[in-house]
């Protein structure tokens, strides 16, 4: 009986953490004098931040209700996540941060950097130039970027980030990735013990808690969870593909229509933990550079990785027995707009049904969304 309580308590903890900006574990870290640096993209190396003694926190705009302050600087043609996030920053709701780091991965994130830099919103404001190609030459370039980033943190906070500390951070982050993948793989089962909603809550929590704390929680959860005997009688197994979807309620809305979201390829999902950083590499920064530019499943902004990217999705489709794919996208996103455009031909060729859904960062228009998902499930089921 005790076991179930533990299991449910941890799942609830993750669900609560995903629904809030500051969760209990983070608050505890802050109360003990811990400091936090926010990251705007999965290409920001959390290991360097952690090695400097900070908790890396993946930026979300959860709880935002307007964009009235940020619309002074941005327009309605900007990504709604960026608008909400800048608005929260301008309202001072990210006051718990010592810094933020963006990347050059998208036009909108770059505008965040511009505005933060101009307003000097945080003590530390960084941006990493992530290349758009993936040859050895780009690995070297990104390595130099990591080196500059490390030096900038050292300078700003008067500290030294040793090689050993980075290696230690890599080891902890790799453990987090391995555990998350283990949880993710549970959904290959016909009656998985967790839902897609809960799985996303877990991977969002991974970006919002001190890594060792998160690892400890997830370890207990994995021990308590059976490998099967969970959800049954669902109408179809779906894969959800897209960008910065950080809201488990979005997945819940899909699953409430009778689907099981069995797998994902999201910026808050599997792409973050599918591969590990090489722990045998002598220079840990080299290993991190290679991990992001070559090894990990890439974001569409990386241009030479199409075949690998398709292979990644097709492997998920096979391994998780996917019946259909939902491709989500926040309006005005070029990266995911073109990704969908290119992917639809591949999916058609392979006979995999898909549904495209546009969204705003805040969950809305749920009536339409329900109709679309329900109709999609009806088409997957065939003749009624």
């Amino acid at each position: 009986m005790r076991d179930t309580v533990d299991k449910d308590a941890i799942v609830n903890k993750f669900m609560t953490a995903a629904g809030r900006l500051v969760n209990d574990e983070m608050q505890e870290w802050l109360n003990r004098g811990g400091r936090i640096i926010g990251t705007y993209c999965s290409y920001v190396p959390e290991e360097i931040i952690a090695a400097a003694g900070f908790m890396p926190f993946r930026m979300r705009a959860v709880g935002s209700d307007s964009t009235e302050l940020s619309d002074v600087y941005l327009t309605h043609l900007n990504c709604s996540f960026v608008r909400h996030s800048l608005n929260m920053a301008l309202k001072g709701e990210y006051g718990f941060l010592d810094g933020v780091v963006t990347t050059t991965c998208c036009d909108h994130a770059r505008r965040l950097f511009d505005n933060f830099a101009r307003k000097e919103s945080f003590p530390f404001i960084g941006m990493l130039n992530v290349p758009k190609r993936n040859t050895e030459f780009q690995v070297e370039w990104f390595y130099q970027e990591l080196l500059k980033f490390k030096q900038a943190i050292e300078k700003q906070f008067h500290l030294t980030i040793s090689k050993d500390r980075i290696k230690e951070a890599i080891s902890i982050q790799n453990e987090s990735r391995r555990l998350q993948k283990q949880l993710f793989l549970l959904r290959t089962d016909k009656n998985p013990p967790i839902t897609g909603t809960e799985a996303l809550a877990a991977s969002v929590s991974a970006t919002a808690m001190p890594a060792s704390k998160f690892n400890a929680l997830l370890k207990v959860l994995l021990k308590e969870l059976p490998t099967s005997g969970g959800r049954k009688n669902y109408r179809a197994r779906l894969l959800i593909l897209g960008g910065i979807l950080d809201n488990p309620q979005y997945i819940k809305l899909i699953e409430d229509q009778g689907a099981l979201v069995a797998a994902d390829s999201l910026c808050f999902g599997s792409r973050l933990f599918w591969e590990n950083v090489d722990e045998n590499e002598e220079d840990p920064l080299k290993a991190i550079a290679r991990y992001h530019i070559v090894d990990r499943p890439s974001c569409p902004h990386l241009l030479d990785a199409r075949e690998k990217h398709i292979a990644f999705i097709m492997d998920l489709v096979d391994q998780f027995q996917i019946d259909g794919i939902i491709m989500e996208r926040i309006n005005f996103c070029d990266n995911w707009g073109f990704e969908r455009f290119m992917l639809r031909n591949t999916l058609k060729e392979k006979g995999i049904p898909f549904l495209s859904m546009d969204r705003e960062y805040l969950l809305g228009g749920t009536g339409q969304m329900k109709t679309r998902v329900q109709a999609f499930l009806e088409t997957l089921e065939g003749d009624l």
């Binding site: 228009g365 339409q368 109709t371 109709a375 009624l384």
Partner: protein, 267 residues
């Protein structure tokens, strides 16, 4: 076997009662604030028309449309996309593409030869091209919907309404009126703008003939002609009211379910 389909949209409720696959009666009622209330009123009217006195007499009822989850008396609910597909196929066997212009939604649905839904596309969270859009535009021109349809038919030089946003389109219309552009030409411009949106949606799913149009706006002949001009095809016309196709589809599916599930009453 008596079954019913009840389609609760954003502006109207529709109900169809079938007895052994023949339409016994149908009803259309304006929406009340609560979908459950709309459903009740619509259904009561359809039952009166069919001489059915109690809900107990139905073997199965399926709800569909925007308010489908709020219909208390329905045994099950199915999305309006599937229902429109089934309903259109029931009255027009050769249909392959369905355009649905509802109060707040615009949809294009592609059917396979067997009637299976191959693909569908919906407007985004925007009223452009929907029934609401047409209503607003007609109001700015101080025309009823029927007058708008007739005016559009008389137009010689359609005005251009470039704005997709209904609010901006309305102010564009006011500008055109101030410039002295004839109302007929503006009316045609309104229909052109909607036809443009429809073109895009239809292209998303592929325009295979035969193409038909369902939903409340399918009664606007001026709009239908404009769409025909733009798509360069003749749209199929139904023998029954195009507004009840969704409810008919729901009722047809209810009948199928009775047979499939061997619910008492099915044979």
């Amino acid at each position: 076997m008596i079954v019913a389909g009840c389609d609760i949209g954003s502006t109207a409720g529709k109900a169809v009662i079938l007895k052994d696959n023949e339409i016994l009666s149908c009803a259309i009622a304006s929406c009340k604030p609560r979908p459950a209330e709309t459903a009740e009123i619509t259904m009561r009217e359809a039952m009166a028309g069919a001489g059915v006195s109690s809900l107990n007499e139905f073997d199965w009822i399926i709800g569909t449309g925007y308010g489908r989850c709020k219909i208390d008396f329905a045994n099950d609910n199915i999305s309006e996309i599937t229902c429109h597909g089934v309903g259109a196929k029931a009255v027009c066997h050769s249909v392959r593409t369905i355009i649905d212009i509802g109060g707040q939604d615009l949809k294009a649905i592609a059917l396979g030869e067997n009637g299976k839904i191959l693909d569908f596309a919906m407007n985004d969270k925007c009223a452009a091209g929907t029934g609401k859009f047409i209503e607003n535009m007609a109001r700015s021109l101080e025309l009823t919907l029927e007058e708008l349809s007739i005016a559009s038919d008389r137009a010689k030089n359609a005005a251009t309404i470039s704005n997709q946003c209904s609010v901006f389109a309305e102010s564009e219309i006011i500008t055109l009126l101030n410039e002295g552009i004839e109302i007929d030409n503006i009316a045609k411009g309104v229909h052109n703008a909607i036809a443009g949106r429809i073109m895009t949606l239809v292209s998303k799913v592929g325009a295979r003939e035969e193409i038909c149009i369902v939903g409340g706006c399918a009664k606007n002949e001026g709009l239908i002609k404009t769409i025909e001009d733009r798509l360069k095809v003749k749209l199929a016309r139904f023998s029954i009211d195009p507004q009840i196709i969704g409810a008919l589809g729901a009722a047809t599916l209810a009948a199928r379910m009775v047979l499939k599930k061997n619910i008492p009453g099915g044979s």
